[in-house]
């Protein structure tokens, strides 16, 4: 009997499978490699990765959880979008079971906190910033440099256009509204300043404030420098334009870094913060916690899942994450050999929260809902920036309470 057992190959013994859901379809391969590292160190656990496109992810997850058929570990959106899942009781608090979270900076862990009880419900994985990606070779070809003022930036765009290069690639098709919202987040701080977020949280400023309208107007002013027919292009097609060298710039978040490199290893690119009207030695960028990985309450593999989550909260994982997918990890002390990533980590020091994502997704209608749906009308000239700002304000006013302190 025992001899027979010894003859059974070790591989035939089914490893415990922990199911993990994510919306980062672009990082599929890189993530597989990361978890292979974990599996090597923990051969009795297999992490099964399942990806759903971002636009369907949240409702797929909440429906599956509602039906008791979710994964063991779920990638979770941050801030307001985390709350419905916590309130419905789908997730387990992790303060005691994953102590590593408490060692992360607040800018990261803030996105994984439940408003109801202040506990952590996920292991944050990144603090992306929003900036402008640019193709260094195309810039050299057009004879331009990183702009230090807005006027220089427009000048650059004109020179690129004259040279037959698309200045900026962007997507505006259905399902890509978040990218246009993100563009506003890229240029926002350069227009409304680093203290605007705090003012809005205290109720001292609203979306209808001329500073925010000016940010929307600046977005509109840049439209002539987007590619022809951007309204019909989606995010993936837009990234293709940048990656294939047809467009010189792309307004995006740090999360583009890894996928750009993976799609075109020969692409020479760097980043800069969107410049304001006056030169600033320390330009401010929008930053936010992108999300976290949480433990599903109905999971039958909690012990194994917690092993995975504790690994994900460790500095080792942070370094591996930064190296594999090219995102800034949730631990800013991580160093990187990638010059672009290093630059982004440095830019993180001068950041303000990404206004609509961090501050206004707590209840429906979220500011993002409104801006993502309506901004295409502003882009096609059917709506004025003032009207868009007014709509956002009207929508969030149905639930927003300024902080009292």
């Amino acid at each position: 009997m025992a001899a027979g057992g010894a003859l059974l190959p070790r591989a035939a013994y089914a490893a415990d499978t922990v199911e993990l859901w994510s919306w980062r379809t672009d990082d599929k391969d890189a993530m597989r490699k990361m978890f292979d590292v974990f599996e090597k160190a923990n051969p009795d656990i297999h992490v099964d990765l399942q990806f759903t496109a971002d636009i369907d992810y949240q409702n797929r997850l909440s429906t599956a959880l509602r039906g008791g058929k979710g994964p063991d570990i779920a990638q979770l959106k941050a801030y307001g979008e985390l709350q419905p899942l916590v309130e419905a009781g789908y997730l387990d608090p992790l303060n005691d079971s994953v102590p590593g979270i408490a060692t992360m900076p607040q800018s990261a862990s803030g996105g994984a906190v439940a408003k109801s009880d202040g506990k952590f419900y996920g292991v944050p994985y990144s603090i992306p910033i929003l900036c402008v990606f640019y193709n260094t070779e195309l810039f050299d070809k057009a004879g331009i440099k990183e702009p230090t003022t807005y006027a220089e930036h427009i000048d650059n765009c004109k020179k690129l256009k004259a040279a037959g290069i698309i200045p900026i690639a962007t997507g505006g098709a259905s399902g890509t509204g978040w990218e246009l919202e993100l563009a506003v987040g890229v240029l926002g701080p350069s227009v409304y300043g680093a203290d605007f977020y705090d003012k809005m949280m205290k109720g001292q400023a609203k979306f209808t404030d001329p500073k925010f309208v000016a940010a929307l107007q600046r977005f509109k002013d840049m439209l002539p420098y987007y590619e022809d027919g951007f309204a019909g292009t989606d995010y993936t097609a837009a990234t293709q334009l940048f990656v294939s060298g047809k467009a010189a710039m792309f307004l995006g978040g740090s999360f583009e870094n890894g996928s750009f490199r993976a799609q075109n290893p020969n692409l020479k690119f760097s980043v800069f913060a969107f410049p304001g009207d006056k030169p600033d030695p320390n330009p401010v960028v929008s930053a936010f916690c992108d999300g976290s990985y949480g433990l599903v309450d109905s999971s039958g593999k909690k012990d194994q899942a917690l092993k995975v989550l504790n690994w994900m909260a460790s500095p080792d994982f942070a370094q591996l994450f930064a190296d594999s997918v090219g995102w800034p990890a949730a631990r800013p002390e991580i160093k990187s050999n990638d010059p672009v990533l290093s630059k982004m980590i440095a830019m993180q020091k001068n950041s303000t929260p990404y206004l609509t994502l961090v501050g206004y997704r707590w209840q429906a209608p979220t500011a993002s809902d409104i801006i993502q749906s309506e901004i295409i009308d502003m882009a096609t000239g059917k709506m004025t920036p003032e009207k868009l700002a007014a709509d956002i304000d009207a929508g969030v006013s149905t639930w927003f309470q300024p902080q009292s302190s």
């Binding site: 399942q50 990806f51 759903t52 496109a53 369907d56 039906g67 008791g68 058929k69 989606d234 097609a237």
Partner: protein, 276 residues
Amino acid sequence: MKTLGFFKALPGWVVLLLWAVVVVLPIYALFVSCFKTTAQIYDNPLALPPQWTGANFVNAWNSLSLGQNLLNSLIVTVCAVIVTIIVSAMAAYPLSRYDLRWGPWMLLLFLAGIMLPIRLASIELFDLMKRLDLLDSLAGLVFVYIAIRIPFAVFIFANFMRTLPRELEEAARIDGAGELRILFSVILPMILPAVSIVAIFTAIAVWNDFFFPLIFIFSDNNKTIPLAIAGFVGQYRTDWGTIFASLGISLAPVLAMYLVLARQIREGIGTTGAVK
């Protein structure tokens, strides 16, 4: 006179052929695009492929578990069709052939289902499926589809059965046959067109349904074709060659079925539409 007739008929022909082109052109474009790269499709969407490579199909097949999805669609459709036919024929028989006081009311209850908007009851239906542990399962889908298709099937069966001569089952009863035997051996063979109508329309509706798999199916292994395709398209938006290939693969079985059954479908609709 003959040439005048030709000229009078010409505008009609032009209109009809124009629409035929509008119908066929997208399918043709789909077909040739399956064999091209994305760049070639951008270049000239209507040109024949420079090389007929199957690379897109391989790509699509590997990226999606299309084999599994096709199988799932097949299982769900076949089960739903067979059970729907059986239970609906059984229900239609007494309602159309027996003289029951409550007969017309029961029939009305069934027929009302044709217009009931079941999608609006999805919240409670979801809850029910959860309690019956039918979520994320093919069996769950089958039950829902049977329930939805019963009204139409009962309608068709009842209408056809009503037209049969009165004495039909009497003779069989005198011979000592049981009611079930009468239904399946005497009645049904006489209304085979009805059976084929119900089978075809149920099959098409179930195979093509997207809403219920969207709500009830979560794991990749249990997806049916429409759900798989929708997810794929949402994800791989720039590799047109592969997307077209995946559309082609999901379209092929339907096209094959249609080539075989076109005449029956045409006649079936004619009969159904005329009955009102």
